[in-house]
Protein backbone atom coordinates (compact mmCIF):
# COMPACT_ATOMS: atom_id res chain seq x y z
CA UNK A 1 0.00 0.00 0.00
CA UNK A 2 2.99 2.30 -0.36
CA UNK A 3 2.13 5.72 -1.65
CA UNK A 4 -1.52 5.20 -0.84
CA UNK A 5 -3.09 7.80 1.34
CA UNK A 6 -6.15 6.91 3.39
CA UNK A 7 -6.68 10.07 5.39
CA UNK A 8 -10.11 10.74 3.81
CA UNK A 9 -11.31 7.44 5.32
CA UNK A 10 -10.09 8.47 8.76
CA UNK A 11 -11.75 11.85 8.46
CA UNK A 12 -14.95 10.09 7.42
CA UNK A 13 -14.76 7.70 10.40
CA UNK A 14 -14.05 10.60 12.74
CA UNK A 15 -17.01 12.61 11.44
CA UNK A 16 -19.33 9.61 11.74
CA UNK A 17 -18.22 8.88 15.31
CA UNK A 18 -18.55 12.55 16.26
CA UNK A 19 -22.05 12.73 14.78
CA UNK A 20 -23.16 9.54 16.53
CA UNK A 21 -21.80 10.77 19.86
CA UNK A 22 -23.49 14.15 19.41
CA UNK A 23 -26.85 12.70 18.36
CA UNK A 24 -26.75 10.18 21.22
CA UNK A 25 -25.83 12.73 23.87
CA UNK A 26 -28.46 15.21 22.68
CA UNK A 27 -31.20 12.60 22.81
CA UNK A 28 -29.98 11.31 26.16
CA UNK A 29 -29.91 14.80 27.63
CA UNK A 30 -33.40 15.74 26.44
CA UNK A 31 -34.76 12.44 27.74
CA UNK A 32 -33.14 13.18 31.10
CA UNK A 33 -34.69 16.67 31.18
CA UNK A 34 -38.13 15.46 30.16
CA UNK A 35 -38.15 12.64 32.72
CA UNK A 36 -37.09 14.85 35.63
CA UNK A 37 -40.28 15.12 37.70
CA UNK A 38 -40.60 18.31 39.80
CA UNK A 39 -40.81 17.47 43.51
CA UNK A 40 -44.03 19.42 44.02
CA UNK A 41 -45.82 17.64 41.18
CA UNK A 42 -49.29 16.50 42.15
CA UNK A 43 -49.90 12.79 41.71
CA UNK A 44 -52.85 11.54 39.69
CA UNK A 45 -53.46 7.81 39.59
CA UNK A 46 -54.60 6.79 36.15
CA UNK A 47 -56.27 3.44 35.61
CA UNK A 48 -57.05 2.06 32.20
CA UNK A 49 -59.57 -0.70 31.66
CA UNK A 50 -61.70 -1.89 28.78
CA UNK A 51 -62.69 0.68 27.67
CA UNK A 52 -62.39 3.80 29.77
CA UNK A 53 -59.99 5.79 31.91
CA UNK A 54 -60.41 6.58 35.60
CA UNK A 55 -58.44 9.20 37.48
CA UNK A 56 -57.82 9.58 41.19
CA UNK A 57 -56.47 12.85 42.55
CA UNK A 58 -54.32 13.22 45.68
CA UNK A 59 -57.37 14.29 47.73
CA UNK A 60 -59.22 11.11 46.77
CA UNK A 61 -61.48 12.71 44.16
CA UNK A 62 -62.24 10.31 41.36
CA UNK A 63 -63.17 11.07 37.81
CA UNK A 64 -64.10 8.83 34.92
CA UNK A 65 -63.51 9.82 31.31
CA UNK A 66 -62.76 13.38 32.40
CA UNK A 67 -59.73 14.89 34.03
CA UNK A 68 -59.73 18.37 35.51
CA UNK A 69 -56.35 19.98 36.18
CA UNK A 70 -55.09 23.45 37.03
CA UNK A 71 -53.03 25.49 34.61
CA UNK A 72 -49.41 25.98 35.68
CA UNK A 73 -49.39 23.08 38.16
CA UNK A 74 -47.12 20.12 37.36
CA UNK A 75 -48.80 16.72 37.50
CA UNK A 76 -47.30 13.28 37.72
CA UNK A 77 -49.39 10.45 36.36
CA UNK A 78 -49.07 7.02 37.93
CA UNK A 79 -50.53 4.78 35.30
CA UNK A 80 -51.77 1.24 35.57
CA UNK A 81 -54.21 -1.12 33.94
CA UNK A 82 -56.83 -3.51 35.26
CA UNK A 83 -56.95 -5.88 32.32
CA UNK A 84 -54.88 -5.60 29.16
CA UNK A 85 -52.15 -3.24 28.01
CA UNK A 86 -53.41 0.23 27.19
CA UNK A 87 -51.50 3.39 26.45
CA UNK A 88 -52.36 6.72 28.06
CA UNK A 89 -52.06 9.50 25.53
CA UNK A 90 -52.70 13.25 25.58
CA UNK A 91 -51.59 14.18 22.04
CA UNK A 92 -51.63 17.95 22.59
CA UNK A 93 -49.16 17.67 25.45
CA UNK A 94 -47.03 14.86 24.00
CA UNK A 95 -47.92 12.64 26.93
CA UNK A 96 -47.70 8.97 26.03
CA UNK A 97 -47.14 6.08 28.42
CA UNK A 98 -48.17 2.44 28.44
CA UNK A 99 -50.63 1.22 31.05
CA UNK A 100 -49.50 -2.26 32.00
CA UNK A 101 -51.39 -4.62 34.33
CA UNK A 102 -49.48 -5.20 37.58
CA UNK A 103 -47.09 -2.36 36.96
CA UNK A 104 -47.10 1.38 37.60
CA UNK A 105 -45.59 3.56 34.92
CA UNK A 106 -45.09 7.28 35.37
CA UNK A 107 -45.01 10.38 33.21
CA UNK A 108 -45.35 14.04 34.15
CA UNK A 109 -46.54 17.13 32.37
CA UNK A 110 -47.27 20.79 32.92
CA UNK A 111 -50.54 22.13 31.55
CA UNK A 112 -49.89 25.62 30.19
CA UNK A 113 -52.86 26.28 27.93
CA UNK A 114 -56.42 26.50 29.19
CA UNK A 115 -58.99 24.47 27.32
CA UNK A 116 -60.21 21.00 26.51
CA UNK A 117 -57.86 18.39 25.13
CA UNK A 118 -58.52 14.83 24.03
CA UNK A 119 -57.23 11.84 25.97
CA UNK A 120 -57.09 8.56 24.12
CA UNK A 121 -55.84 5.01 24.28
CA UNK A 122 -52.88 4.48 21.97
CA UNK A 123 -52.52 0.72 22.23
CA UNK A 124 -55.06 -1.52 20.56
CA UNK A 125 -56.93 -3.05 23.48
CA UNK A 126 -59.99 -4.73 22.07
CA UNK A 127 -63.29 -4.11 20.37
CA UNK A 128 -64.00 -0.58 21.60
CA UNK A 129 -60.41 0.61 21.70
CA UNK A 130 -61.27 3.31 19.17
CA UNK A 131 -63.68 4.86 21.63
CA UNK A 132 -61.55 4.61 24.77
CA UNK A 133 -61.35 8.35 25.01
CA UNK A 134 -61.49 11.02 27.66
CA UNK A 135 -61.21 14.77 27.97
CA UNK A 136 -58.59 16.81 29.74
CA UNK A 137 -59.90 20.11 31.11
CA UNK A 138 -57.20 22.62 31.91
CA UNK A 139 -58.64 25.33 34.13
CA UNK A 140 -57.33 28.56 35.56
CA UNK A 141 -55.79 28.28 39.05
CA UNK A 142 -58.37 30.60 40.56
Amino acid sequence: MSGHSNWPEWIYIGVVIALLVWVGSEAWNIERLVEHVPEEAKVIKVTGQQWFWTFEHEDGTKETGELHVKKGVPYKFEISSKDVIHSFNIPDYLVLMDAVPGRITTVWFLPVDEGEFPIQCREYCGLIHYNMRGTLYVEDKS
Binding site: W10, I13, I17, L19, V21, W22, V23, S25, E26, A27, W28, N29, I30, R32, L33, V34, H36, P38, P74, Y93, L94, V95, F109, L110, V112
Partner: protein
Protein backbone atom coordinates in the same frame (compact mmCIF):
# COMPACT_ATOMS: atom_id res chain seq x y z
CA UNK B 1 -7.73 -1.85 12.90
CA UNK B 2 -5.75 -1.00 16.00
CA UNK B 3 -6.62 2.66 15.52
CA UNK B 4 -10.34 1.85 15.24
CA UNK B 5 -10.26 -0.24 18.42
CA UNK B 6 -8.20 2.49 20.09
CA UNK B 7 -10.76 5.12 19.07
CA UNK B 8 -13.64 3.01 20.35
CA UNK B 9 -11.92 2.41 23.67
CA UNK B 10 -11.05 6.10 23.91
CA UNK B 11 -14.63 7.14 23.16
CA UNK B 12 -16.04 4.75 25.76
CA UNK B 13 -13.50 5.61 28.45
CA UNK B 14 -12.97 9.33 27.85
CA UNK B 15 -15.38 11.08 25.49
CA UNK B 16 -18.67 9.64 26.68
CA UNK B 17 -17.99 10.10 30.43
CA UNK B 18 -16.83 13.67 29.70
CA UNK B 19 -20.02 14.45 27.84
CA UNK B 20 -22.05 12.86 30.60
CA UNK B 21 -20.20 14.95 33.18
CA UNK B 22 -20.74 18.15 31.24
CA UNK B 23 -24.44 17.55 30.79
CA UNK B 24 -24.81 16.14 34.28
CA UNK B 25 -23.40 19.33 35.79
CA UNK B 26 -26.26 21.38 34.49
CA UNK B 27 -29.34 21.07 36.72
CA UNK B 28 -32.49 19.93 35.02
CA UNK B 29 -34.68 23.00 34.77
CA UNK B 30 -38.00 22.53 36.48
CA UNK B 31 -41.22 23.12 34.63
CA UNK B 32 -39.84 22.53 31.20
CA UNK B 33 -42.39 22.25 28.44
CA UNK B 34 -42.02 18.72 27.14
CA UNK B 35 -43.63 19.69 23.85
CA UNK B 36 -40.94 22.29 23.18
CA UNK B 37 -38.07 20.02 24.21
CA UNK B 38 -39.29 16.99 22.27
CA UNK B 39 -40.19 18.87 19.07
CA UNK B 40 -36.91 20.81 19.17
CA UNK B 41 -35.01 17.55 19.50
CA UNK B 42 -36.99 16.13 16.61
CA UNK B 43 -36.21 19.12 14.37
CA UNK B 44 -32.52 19.06 15.29
CA UNK B 45 -32.29 15.36 14.51
CA UNK B 46 -34.14 15.86 11.22
CA UNK B 47 -31.68 18.61 10.29
CA UNK B 48 -28.76 16.29 11.03
CA UNK B 49 -30.40 13.46 9.08
CA UNK B 50 -31.03 15.61 6.01
CA UNK B 51 -27.56 17.19 6.07
CA UNK B 52 -25.87 13.80 6.37
CA UNK B 53 -28.17 12.40 3.66
CA UNK B 54 -27.36 15.19 1.22
CA UNK B 55 -23.61 15.09 1.90
CA UNK B 56 -23.45 11.30 1.43
CA UNK B 57 -25.64 11.20 -1.68
CA UNK B 58 -23.90 14.29 -3.10
CA UNK B 59 -20.50 12.67 -2.62
CA UNK B 60 -21.69 9.48 -4.32
CA UNK B 61 -23.16 11.39 -7.25
CA UNK B 62 -19.93 13.39 -7.65
CA UNK B 63 -17.80 10.22 -7.44
CA UNK B 64 -19.83 8.48 -10.12
CA UNK B 65 -19.77 11.55 -12.35
CA UNK B 66 -16.07 12.29 -11.90
CA UNK B 67 -14.68 8.76 -12.20
CA UNK B 68 -16.71 7.56 -15.17
CA UNK B 69 -14.66 6.27 -18.10
CA UNK B 70 -15.88 9.02 -20.41
CA UNK B 71 -14.81 11.87 -18.12
CA UNK B 72 -12.39 14.20 -19.97
CA UNK B 73 -9.86 13.92 -17.14
CA UNK B 74 -10.16 10.14 -16.77
CA UNK B 75 -6.79 8.41 -16.87
CA UNK B 76 -6.29 4.66 -17.40
CA UNK B 77 -5.04 2.79 -14.37
CA UNK B 78 -1.68 1.05 -14.59
CA UNK B 79 -3.47 -2.31 -14.89
CA UNK B 80 -5.47 -1.48 -17.99
CA UNK B 81 -4.16 -3.16 -21.13
CA UNK B 82 -1.74 -5.40 -19.23
CA UNK B 83 -4.12 -8.39 -19.16
CA UNK B 84 -3.86 -8.62 -15.38
CA UNK B 85 -7.56 -7.99 -14.93
CA UNK B 86 -8.73 -10.30 -17.77
CA UNK B 87 -9.05 -13.51 -15.74
Amino acid sequence: MRIIIGLMVLSILVFLPTIQLVFGAEEAAEYIDRRVEIWNLFFRMMTVAFVVGSVVSGTLIWLIWRFRESHPKATPTKYEGTGELDN
